[in-house]
């Protein structure tokens, strides 16, 4: 990997430019070097003590091949892998695409749309655990709010949501999207606001409006950001524990677990920490490529609008 170049700083030569003799260009010597090292030291110590060591420990714990044989023979593990793939694939893509579309909606010049942004952002501000518990109670069979609404408005008896694998899984995804859609929408709103007005004016002269403007002007300009956000979101969602743990709790009968909750289940509920670690580590083959693509994108890309 060509990672020897100064990351991030190299991307903005124009702004970071000082005269030849500036502090930034000279080699550090004497007291300055010592200060620089002292300044980096806390972070380096943190990294060694709380990233390198636990990660090494995890690899050592999950290193025995027998663990993976045990995982493979466990039908719970296999169904969990399927769940995790679906959870992340559906959740990330639906959420990012909705966020992209909604960012356009929120930029419409109407006072009530601006006002709507406040309640829309609220889910992002509510602590995850409390929000997930609220979802859980809302969906708790006939006594929950949602079935109450269904019977009051349409006179139908709602399903017992957590008795059905598909429905319970769907609500896990929905709760996660509910929590994180505002955050990504705001990111895209900010990005769209930086697109200069004259780009749109020029497009309009060329006859690109509506859907065509979105497809040929807005989206290409945001494509790189969209990709980076999708990758970041994939990593976050892959590591999400709270939503599944508190919304469906794996119900019915552990059939909606994802890797993060299964690892917890093995490690802390059935007291098999090594197996839990191995279950989680089996996400690495997906995690590493995503992380590498993300790092490359963040390092080398001139993200310019």
């Amino acid at each position: 990997m060509s990672s020897t170049q100064p990351v991030l700083t190299a991307r903005y030569p124009a702004t970071a430019k000082g005269p030849g003799g500036s502090l930034g260009r000279r080699r550090l010597r004497g007291p300055e070097l010592r200060w620089a090292i002292a300044f980096v030291l806390p972070y380096a110590a943190l990294f060694l003590a709380f990233v390198v060591y636990p990660f090494g420990y995890a690899l050592w714990m999950a290193g025995r091949p027998a663990l993976y044989a045990e995982l493979m023979s466990d039908p719970l593990y296999l169904s969990t892998v399927v769940n995790t793939v679906l959870f992340v694939a559906v959740g990330v893509n639906v959420k990012m695409f909705l966020a992209l579309l909604l960012s356009g909606f929120f930029l419409r010049r109407r006072w009530w749309i601006k006002a709507l942004l406040v309640p829309f952002i609220l889910p992002w501000l509510i602590a995850t655990a409390q929000a997930c518990v609220s979802f859980h109670w809302m969906l708790i069979d006939q006594r929950g709010l949602l079935d109450g609404l269904l019977s009051a408005l349409f006179g139908i008896d709602g399903p017992i949501w957590f008795n059905d694998r598909g429905l319970a899984f769907g609500w896990n995804v929905a709760a996660y999207i509910w929590k994180w859609l505002p955050f990504w929408t705001v990111i895209f709103i900010a990005a769209r606001m930086t697109i200069p007005r004259d780009v749109y004016d020029a497009a309009e002269v060329d006859g690109a409006t509506g859907v065509r403007r979105f497809a040929h002007v807005t989206f290409p300009l945001l494509a790189n950001l969209y990709l980076i956000c999708t990758l970041v979101s994939t990593l976050w969602m892959l590591g999400d524990f709270t939503t599944v743990y508190l919304v469906s709790g794996g119900a019915p009968a552990l059939s909606t677990e994802v890797l993060a909750t299964l690892g917890y289940h093995y490690a802390f509920e059935t007291a098999k920490p090594a197996l839990g670690m191995a279950a989680v580590m089996s996400a690495l083959p997906v995690l590493i490529p995503v992380a590498i693509v993300l790092m490359r994108r963040l390092q080398t890309n001139e993200v310019q609008l």
Partner: protein
């Protein structure tokens, strides 16, 4: 094009019709979004405003038939089960949140100052380390964390959670601060050096004041990360050091928990981040713009 430039009557009517459809569509979308965003929040209030303990909260009610503030009162006076120490729990949450915030800002700004402003050689190593940590989902490391915190003598200690949160918040801090610091001209540093300022003086008097907006965003990020955390607190802490977030874990342990009070506690718990975000909203908007353009 020429037809659009000189709209005739049918074209104008079609235009007006399209406008009406778009308006109606966006109003419909707005209402749907409002319901979608507020339904779970409404449900929190519905549960919290119920007068009785026990299962009565969940009765298919879609309206608080007999709203009362009993839940809130029980929280504030610490009379509800699991919330006998509510103020202590909130204190623990605040302790974790504020120290995570302060340490993230400190460690992150020191590191990114050394890397970005002093151009320490081999600096890429550090930013790569930050990127790598950013890419590891925190929850995947919970099992080894449980073990190593024991080794470090931090089992059942609030500092174990703080250490974990700072570890996972600092990479974002370093990345954002790096991006932002490149927008600040180096001439300031040079001028200060010519005047004989030492490195810590440049850091304190020039770097930190100029970086305030980015530091505010890092602070909010770190606080929200700690505030939103459930897993690390639930695993690394015991009942003795309970936090507000952990109380929600009673969900599957005890169905008969006083959920009106627990939800009331949840509603109170969401006030500090809202207040903080409101106070710092100017910085948030500014830095989100930077983050999205550059990142």
């Amino acid at each position: 094009m020429s037809a659009a430039a000189l709209p005739g009557r049918p074209a104008r009517r079609r235009y007006r019709l399209r406008r009406t459809v778009v308006e109606a569509g966006s109003i419909g979308l707005g209402i749907a979004l409002l319901i979608w965003s507020l339904l779970p929040v409404y449900n929190m209030f519905l549960v919290a405003l119920d007068p009785e303990e026990g299962e009565i909260e969940f009765d298919g009610n879609i309206w608080p038939s007999d709203p009362s503030l009993d839940g809130f009162r029980d929280v504030v006076t610490q009379e509800a089960r699991y919330l006998e120490d509510f103020w202590h729990q909130l204190g623990n949450s605040l302790y974790i949140g504020l120290f995570t915030m302060a340490l993230t800002v400190l460690v992150g700004s020191l590191a990114s100052f050394a890397v970005g402003r002093m151009r320490l050689s081999k600096a890429s190593l550090l930013t790569n380390a930050a990127l790598l940590t950013y890419a590891i989902p925190a929850s995947l490391l919970i099992v080894p964390y449980y073990a190593i915190m024991h080794t470090y003598g931090l089992s059942d200690n609030l500092w174990a959670v703080i250490a974990a949160q700072v570890t996972f918040a600092t990479p974002f801090a370093v990345l954002i601060l790096q991006l932002y610091s490149n927008l600040v001209p180096f001439e300031f540093d040079d001028a200060a050096r010519v005047d004989g300022a030492s490195v810590p003086q440049i850091y304190l008097r020039i770097y930190l004041p100029l970086m305030t907006p980015a530091l505010a965003v890092v602070a909010i990020y770190a606080l929200l990360l700690a505030w939103n955390d459930y897993l690390y607190q639930a695993v690394l802490l015991s009942v003795r050091n309970m936090t507000v977030s952990m109380t929600q874990g009673q969900l599957f342990e005890d169905v008969d928990a006083p959920w009106n009070a627990m939800m009331a506690a949840g509603i109170l718990y969401m006030l500090p981040p809202v207040a903080l975000l409101f106070a710092l909203r100017r910085y948030v908007v500014a830095s989100l713009t930077i983050a999205s353009v550059k990142g």
